[in-house]
């Protein structure tokens, strides 16, 4: 399950922070870097491909219809 854009971005920033602290082992560092790249691509793709979702609240108050 993918998180929100903000959560994905936070994950990415966590990888950058961990890497820049410099206390990771080589394997951990490589993993953090690759995960970071994936998260970066995920964020960028979401930004480029997102389409605005518009929902209209109907007069019937509770019911929602998607237009």
């Amino acid at each position: 399950v993918k998180g929100t854009f903000e959560e994905t971005l936070a994950e990415l920033e966590a990888r950058v922070a961990a890497l820049s602290r410099g206390d990771l082992s080589l394997e951990e560092a490589l993993r953090a870097f690759e995960e970071g790249l994936d998260l970066y691509r995920e964020c960028a793709a979401r930004l480029r491909e997102a389409e605005l979702k518009v929902t209209e609240l109907t007069e019937a108050a509770e019911g929602e219809t998607v237009s």
Binding site: F33, K53, L57
Partner: protein, 420 residues
């Protein structure tokens, strides 16, 4: 004739002159004046200007005031049906133009002005009403800067209150689609012009309050001051002020100011501008992302350099014995950590057991157990409810009698109430 005699006694003693038969009663005189006044077309539909004083708004909805100038004054009244249509609050000292009819108030034989419409002179009714509403809200503290809430940096769901007929609807959606299409827009439609607009806008706002929204935009395209007047409504302003969600007002153009602007958390110059204020720009965020990516690569490069350097210096010292010592050290640290964890777990389990036992004995003392031990019984019906009155059972009911060591199932044969 005694001078101190009362009026009625006097009348009885004095012979009535013959002309008394032709005298008006007071009511007849007043009726004649009244008919004369009403029949005179010049006194109907008059325009009178003057200053309002002695303004009284009666509970019935009628407004009484005295219209005066330097030398004269005339009692005036606005009946409820006309009073509700006034676009301002009548105030003492106000210079007004009154349109109405001259009439007679029979009970006092007083002529009065029945005002159909009252307009403030000089400032204009619209302006005055606007200032009165604004100052009223200010006095209630609803326009204070301290009340204004910050907008969320990246909203997930944006509420939009507007009409599909207004350009604002499309402006807001287009701007959001360009800048931050990750957001979901929940639209609550309402008319944005006319007398029906304020209650409909309030309803739309309250519906959004339950729709998991981060920020609400109330938007309308440009229009005349009259077109935008519904956004000067005091009850709409109060609804916005008490909204649990931050509200952005986006009414008309840069130069249009409405009451809504004073109570909203943020005033946007235009609907498009409102969309820019509530959502980040993805072009900017993409640039930030590019920077983050560079940081990622730079950090890895630094790490590589560091590793290479350490490998170079450690080269000579990396013997099998040294590696073995490192592994043993790690194993020992693991054991210590494991033991510590086990002790901690055992302690918390013991504490939990202790608490459970104490709770059980407390429950026991409060429950029916000690009573049952003494030979008493509890009677339960088929649903397991306690039977404490004969009124709740009937012949043939199956009951359970709970005693110290078990249950006895019984059927009701008869019941007898004992008066206490």
């Amino acid at each position: 004739v005694p001078s101190s005699a009362s009026g009625s006694a006097t009348q009885n003693l004095v012979h009535e002159p013959p002309e008394a038969a032709f005298a008006f009663t007071v009511t007849q005189l007043t009726d004649l004046v009244c008919q004369t006044v009403r029949a005179n077309g010049a006194l109907r539909g008059v325009l009178v200007r003057g200053e309002m004083s002695n303004v009284v708004v009666h509970a019935s909805g009628r407004i009484y005031f005295t219209l005066k100038d330097e030398r004269s004054q005339v009692a005036s009244v606005v009946f409820r049906s006309d009073a509700v249509r006034l676009r301002f609050e009548p105030e003492n000292g106000l210079e007004v133009l009154v349109a109405g009819d001259v009439d007679v108030f029979s009970a006092r034989s007083q002529y009065q002005l029945v005002a159909r419409d009252v307009r403030p002179l000089g400032q204009g009714a619209w302006w005055l009403h606007f200032q009165q509403v604004r100052m009223g809200l200010e006095a209630e503290g609803l326009t204070a800067d301290a009340r204004k809430r910050a907008l969320p940096a990246t909203p997930r769901r944006i509420g939009l209150v507007t009409s599909p007929d207004t350009a604002a609807y499309h402006d807001v959606l287009r701007t959001l689609a360009d800048r931050w299409p990750l957001v979901e827009v929940v639209v609550a439609l309402a008319p944005v012009q006319g007398d029906d607009a304020p209650p409909a806008l309030i309803t739309a706002l309250s519906r959004l309050a339950h729709a998991d929204i981060d920020v609400v935009i109330i938007a309308r395209g440009g229009g005349s001051a009259e077109d935008l007047a519904c956004f000067n409504d005091a009850s709409l302003a109060r609804a916005v002020a008490s909204s649990p969600i931050p509200v952005v007002s986006a009414i008309g153009h840069e130069t249009d100011v409405t009451i809504l602007d004073f109570v909203a958390d943020v005033r946007a110059a235009t609907p498009s501008r409102a969309a820019e204020l509530v959502a980040p720009d993805r072009a900017e965020v993409l640039r930030d992302l590019g920077r983050i990516r560079s940081d990622l690569e730079a950090s890895l490069r630094v790490l590589f350099e560091d590793m290479r350097e350490r490998a170079r210096t450690a080269h000579g010292r990396l013997t099998p014995e040294a590696v073995l010592g490192l592994v043993r050290d790690l194993a020992q640290r693991l054991d210590v950590a494991f033991d510590g964890m086990r002790a901690a777990i055992r302690l918390s389990v013991e504490r939990a057991q202790d608490r459970a036992e104490r709770a059980a004995s407390a429950l026991n003392a409060l429950g029916p157990r000690p009573t049952l031990e003494r030979g008493f019984a509890v009677v339960l019906d088929v649903r397991g409810a306690t039977v404490s009155s004969v009124a709740t059972v009937s012949r043939g009911d199956r009951l359970r009698v709970v005693v110290r060591d078990g249950e006895i199932r019984v059927t009701v044969e008869d019941r007898k109430e004992v008066k206490t």
